[in-house]
């Protein structure tokens, strides 16, 4: 422990007036409590300016952190003598994108008052602000003005908290100005002019007051506009949020324009009324989920109803965006409705809508057009309702929390008024988000012509009741649509994957030896060997997919003299390198998981660890965490032990190599024997698991064949093959995970990191059961996982082997997803893993690519007494918080991976179409019927698509069939769910947005190209 100095902070009693703060707080029960707080004012709060003579020696001035340059920022045209920027709270609340941009780099003084105000107003923004202060690129200094005696202010009588904060900010700005000139005076002779401190605020009244005090101020727009002319400026101008100008600049308000505009949406109820309504049960709160097939519909799941509340039409969805937490009012039962059985695409419906709005008259005409069209669509849906399908219907009356983020969009070319590429005029355009869940966003930009055909990032700023579309602003361009880089980055952004390279602080946590790090010799007095077992002589090998670089697991098995078998799973000892509470640990916790895209891997840990030091590569010594079982030849576990170890893998096989080796009767070496031994055990383990009721589920997994590693042009798509050896590895990993879960749960009943899979509510299966019964006369028993597994085995069509897989895929979609949880936060009887039919489960076997595994490693190490557990892992709240992040990241990573495969399937199709000079025709199964289309699944490509019919068809939702005329004189054809059809697949570019999408048309039994 370093030498510390303990002091008493003396506070003279007469200072109480500024150091004590009294306020009243109302508790949830309505009781009023008086709170008295004090603060200690000090003179050693550092100003953060490099080499400041007045602040030298203060805590935090030792330049380990980013500090502000002594001469200020001299790149701004208006301040040749240098300046520092001091933004007020509203700047951070409304202009975060600008501040986050890598091309906006002034020296910023961030006041404590501002940070606290941001935290009160918006937690997500606060977190972004915190990340910003930590980033290496920015020059931001946090000044604790409320703790410095000269800058602390006290709220005066009749002063609003807002005014008090504004005054505090002005005081701090004035203090900085005088502090700078004082510091200059001490350095005689040199550079007489001190840099300026510029207060940036959008509040005109605040600016006036500041100028009276002699502080220079500007609005953010002025500041950016006065920057020196270069190519960055238009980009920065676009980053400025669309602010309601008349609110900020009363002089420029044009009352005429605002007064005449009619409201399209009803206003939200006040917050207090919403909360009261939820409490009394009249209103319901939930996440808003948009319908991706029909942009005029959305759903909100609430605990009060077993079916989600349906929201139909724009007025009822009332400006909710996918992911928002909204409050809905449910209509009386007579007005309940059923979801429309039709695909409604906003791009085609709203083709002619105009983005320029506000002043022209004809806008109202188009508005009316759109409205009547939409009403027609809604009415068409309603006419054919049946009572059975009705579900609660309602409307959004308020929003508790917006979950807006930056969205990847394309500019809609038709919304441009001028497409002259050199035009720099400001125009309103529509941006169509890539995600089908989102409405179009209206934005104003000067760069519209250059942005056409690019993927861009757009943030939503607000959605007024008078505006049909949300308004946003341009953040940055990602690159040309369909270029691999742009697509890749847009995927990562869309699924919120943190993909920036690792920062310096993280890389500093790596071993100093870098690449040349090796396990020290055993006889050296290195601490590494303490408590570690030497397993270097065991015949250990790893089996992984081809080209696997991050090998986290290796296996061995050998017969024991007593007739039993010893089997071991060795997992990379990541927790040896990633110590708790280091920068690397924080980064890994925030990333949660490695994300695998088709042509890129976004690592959770720096490459040095993931692909080298931790990776259990063959022929080198590596640290491992081993689970070693003694089993009977019948694969019953006699006992298990866990130990940290040093291993030297003897071989790294691919699944295919291992399989060939096992099956080759000529191979009689020991390694092959041990693979055979492992395999026989694995088969018995699997049989045991299946008998216990584990599910064998399927998901459409395909592999993309890349041409070569350089060009990464996909040439073909094939389905993943499953070999015996895949299941060998899987069985042992499951066994290891279950054994570890038991052990850590026993040792840390309150905080162990576990994984569970909740049994799905049987209502999830209703639709699938109904389809199976009506179409195939098959029954699905969903009473337990065992029963489900058995009845899934019965769902076979002797003529169609793929049918069973299809049913399994559809059944999988009915289930809930597995999640990590902290053992102390849920009741013991909900620990079970439904899919694996195991009472307890965790993730232990892939610590290189999953963060939960790292935590499990730490807990297991503590459980076996190898190391003591870091304090944070004793805290339930901490574990819960980390696992929430990991769960979210895990879900996002899966979706990103799938989307990446989908994109490459599209590319592969395109190249195949070009090569074969004909459109690809594939076999597909119908999985859903709509009134005007079919949902089909192409199992060979793992691709799901829509076949749309323009003409009306006869649709029978009871029996899931659709009848279409097959052409003149040929009668009608009926197509039902599960029918096999042939579809022509092509990749079509949307003319307006340049967004490529897969278009399918029916070839057999009917050619739908004319329909």
């Amino acid at each position: 422990m370093p030498e510390i100095t303990i002091t008493i902070r003396k506070r003279p009693p007469e200072e109480a007036i500024i150091t004590q703060r009294k306020f009243f707080k109302k508790t949830a029960r309505g009781k009023v409590i008086k709170v008295l707080r004090e603060r200690y004012l000090r003179d050693d709060v550092a100003c953060g300016i490099k080499n400041c003579s007045l602040c030298s020696g203060f805590d935090g001035m030792d330049s380990k952190r980013t500090m502000l340059p002594f001469a200020g920022d001299i790149s701004h045209a208006a301040f040749p003598e240098g300046h520092y920027v001091l933004p007020d709270t509203n700047i951070f609340l409304s202009q975060m994108d600008l501040l986050e941009s890598s091309i906006f780099t002034p020296s910023i003084i961030l006041l404590q008052t501002v940070i606290e105000e941001v935290r009160h107003r918006s937690l997500p923004l606060y977190n972004r602000l915190k990340a910003l202060t930590k980033s290496d690129e920015k020059r931001i200094w946090v000044f604790y003005n409320e703790y410095r005696s000269e800058t602390a202010v006290v709220r005066e009588e009749n002063e609003t908290p807002n005014d008090r904060n504004d005054r505090g900010i002005r005081t701090a700005a004035a203090w900085y100005t005088s502090h700078l000139s004082l510091a200059r005076k001490q350095l005689r002779g040199k550079n007489k002019k001190a840099p300026k401190v510029l207060l940036i605020t959008e509040d005109a009244a605040n600016r006036r007051k500041a100028e009276a005090q002699g502080i220079s101020t500007m609005s953010i727009r002025q500041y950016v506009e006065k920057m020196s002319e270069d190519d960055k400026k238009p980009q920065l101008l676009d980053l400025l949020t669309a602010v309601d100008e008349d609110e900020i600049e009363p002089t420029r308000a044009s009352a005429a324009a605002t007064g005449t505009k009619a409201s399209l949406y009803s206003e939200y109820l006040p917050q207090a009324m919403l909360l009261a309504g939820i409490k009394s049960g009249n209103l319901h709160q939930g996440h808003f989920n948009a319908n991706q097939y029909n942009y005029l519909e959305g759903e909100v799941s609430t605990p009060a109803f077993n079916k989600p509340v349906l929201l139909q039409g724009r007025e009822n969805m009332n400006r909710a965006v996918h992911g928002d937490i909204v409050v809905v009012e449910v209509f009386s039962e007579s007005e309940w409705s059923a979801p429309a059985d039709e695909v409604v695409d906003q791009d085609t419906t709203l083709k002619h809508d105009d983005a320029e709005s506000g002043d022209e008259k004809d806008e109202y005409e188009t508005e009316d057009n759109v409205l009547s069209k939409e009403r027609g669509l809604l009415a068409k849906g309603k006419a054919k309702l049946k009572v059975k399908e009705k579900q609660p219907t309602g409307k959004v009356v308020g929003v508790i929390k917006r979950n807006w983020r930056a969205y990847v969009c394309h500019i809609d070319s038709t919304s441009l008024t001028s497409s002259n590429p050199s035009s720099l005029s400001l125009q309103s355009v529509f941006a169509t988000p890539v995600s089908r869940f989102l409405p179009r966003i209206r934005l104003r930009t000067r760069q519209a012509p250059t942005l056409l055909g690019q993927k861009i990032l757009v943030t939503v700023d607000r959605w007024e009741p008078t505006s049909r579309y949300p308004e946003g602003h341009f953040v940055r361009a990602l690159g040309k649509a369909e270029s691999k880089e742009a697509e890749q980055e847009s995927l990562l952004l869309e699924f919120e994957v943190p993909y920036r390279p690792f920062g310096r602080a993280v890389l500093d946590c790596l071993p100093k030896e870098g690449d040349s790090w090796v396990v020290p010799p055993k006889d050296s007095d290195s601490k590494i060997w303490e408590g570690r077992e030497d397993l270097r002589n065991l015949l250990i090998c790893s089996i992984d997919p081809p080209n696997c670089q991050d090998i986290d697991d290796a296996l061995h098995a050998r017969p024991l003299p007593n007739g039993n078998v010893e089997a071991g799973v060795h997992i990379a000892d990541v927790s040896h390198f990633v110590l708790a509470d280091t920068s690397m640990d924080h980064e890994a916790a925030a990333r949660g998981t490695t994300v695998y895209l088709v042509d890129k891997r976004i690592d959770m840990l720096p490459g040095l660890l993931g692909t080298n030091l931790c990776s259990l590569r063959p022929f080198v010594e590596r640290l491992a965490f081993s689970a070693i079982w003694e089993m009977t030849p019948e694969a019953e576990v006699v006992n298990v032990r866990f130990t940290k170890s040093v291993i030297a893998s003897k071989a790294a096989f691919t699944y295919e190599e291992a399989q060939l080796r096992k099956d080759d009767p000529h191979m009689q070496d020991e390694l092959t024997h041990s693979i055979r031994l492992l395999n026989s055990l694995a088969q018995k383990l699997k049989a045991g698991r299946m008998a216990a009721g584990a599910l064998n589920l399927a998901s459409p997994e395909v592999k993309i064949q890349l041409d070569s590693s350089e060009s990464s042009d996909p040439i073909d798509v094939e389905q993943k093959e499953m070999r015996e050896t895949n299941s060998l590895v899987e069985e042992f990993m499951l066994l290891a995970n279950i054994s570890v879960a038991k052990k850590i749960q026993e040792t840390f009943p309150q905080t162990s990191v576990l994984r569970r899979h909740m049994p799905p509510p049987s209502s999830n299966f209703e639709r699938l059961q109904d389809i199976l019964l009506k179409r195939r006369g098959m029954k699905l028993d969903v009473s337990s996982s065992g029963a489900l597994a058995a009845s899934l085995d019965q769902c076979v069509d002797p003529e169609e082997p793929a049918f069973n897989t299809l049913v399994r895929i559809m059944a999988t979609r009915c289930m809930l997803s597995a999640e990590y949880f902290c053992s102390g936060s849920v009741s013991r009887d909900t620990f079970g893993h439904y899919g694996l039919a195991s009472p307890i489960y965790t993730h232990f076997t892939s610590p290189i690519r999953r963060y939960a595994d790292v935590l499990a490693h730490r807990q297991l190490a503590a459980a076996i007494g190898y190391a003591s557990l870091h304090g944070s892992l004793h805290s339930k709240a901490y574990v819960e918080r980390v696992l929430n992040v990991v769960n979210h990241r895990h879900r996002m990573a899966q979706m990103a991976g799938r989307a990446s495969v989908e994109f490459y399937v599209g590319l592969a199709l395109k190249s195949r179409n070009e090569r074969e000079k004909a459109l690809v025709v594939e076999e597909a199964f119908v999985i859903r019927t709509f009134r005007n289309g079919l949902g089909v699944f192409v199992s060979k490509l793992g691709l799901e698509g829509l076949v749309m019919f323009k003409r009306d068809t006869q649709f029978d939702p009871e029996n899931y069939t659709i009848t279409i005329p097959s052409g003149p004189g040929k009668g009608d054809t009926t197509i039902a769910v599960f029918d096999k059809v042939f579809v022509k697949i092509e990749v079509e570019k949307d003319k307006n947005t340049q967004r490529g999408r897969v278009k399918m048309t029916l070839v057999h039994p009917v050619d739908s190209s004319g329909l």
């Binding site: 303990i6 902070r9 707080k25 509470d581 304090g871």
Partner: protein, 250 residues
């Protein structure tokens, strides 16, 4: 609320190892033999000591030493929420008994057989570190009453945020992090009270303990200064009424 932020500030502007302002008032109040008012930040405690005197009840007399009686009273207005605590309140009784057992070993009770020393503690304001303030105040009041002690008892509250020890917690901090109160005797360096109601990992305990001992010494210096000042004032006043150095020595 962040107990200790990234730049090392706590929510009230202190740093990790800074104690709150301490004010000590040793003026005489009423009929008590010794009184002390001690303020740690926004925690204020008034202690009066009566005795040694004859035990009121026969049953309470101990034949070879004095009986120490501690009574704690929490003012209804002491915390934000007005709340009357009964004399028999479990938490109050527990605190009284902790104080009693701390001082039974420090007071030289064997000098006063068959007598009683009453310690009345009045909690006037509370904002964390209650036990700490009570013990420090009691030490001072006992000294003022002229009761012979083995040593000062200096108490300090400390807690651990993440892996950093923090001294002298406010209520906000106490509610948030594992904490303990420790009373140490600065001369001998022994510790005769550690009170902990939350769970703290044993690995953190060692560091925390060391820091708390250091803080105890700092508090001791502060208390010593107050006692010396009081003594000087008494001596000066005695001179004004005609007592000389000689009288004092006699």
């Amino acid at each position: 609320m962040e107990v200790l932020n990234a730049d090392g500030y706590r929510s009230d502007g202190r740093r990790q190892f800074e104690l709150r302002s301490i004010t000590i008032d040793l003026a005489q109040h009423g009929a008590a033999d010794g009184t002390a008012t001690i303020v740690h930040g926004l925690t204020k405690v008034f202690v009066s000591v009566l005795g040694p005197r004859e035990a009121k009840l026969r049953s309470l007399t101990i034949h070879d030493r004095a009986n120490v009686n501690v009574e704690v009273n929490v003012a209804a207005f002491s915390s934000g929420e007005r709340r009357k605590r009964a004399k028999s309140d479990k938490r109050v009784l527990e605190m009284a008994s902790a104080i009693k057992s701390t001082f039974e070993t420090i007071i030289q009770t064997n000098l006063y057989p068959r007598s009683q020393i009453d310690i009345y503690i009045q909690i006037i304001e509370q904002d964390g570190g209650l036990l700490q303030a009570c013990i420090n105040g009691t030490t001072l009041a006992l000294i003022c009453a002229g009761i012979p002690l083995v040593d000062f008892a200096c108490a300090v509250t400390c807690g651990v945020y993440a892996n950093s020890p923090i001294l002298d917690l406010t209520t906000l901090e106490e509610n948030d992090i594992p904490n303990m109160t420790l009373a140490m005797l600065p001369k001998t360096g022994s510790v005769n009270l550690t009170a902990m109601e939350s769970r703290l990992h044993v690995d953190r305990f060692g560091d925390l303990f060391e820091v708390a001992l250091g803080a105890g010494r700092v508090i001791h210096e502060e208390m010593k200064l107050a006692i010396l000042a009081k003594s000087r004032m008494l001596v000066a006043e005695m001179k004004t009424i005609g007592w000389g150095e000689k009288d004092l020595v006699d």
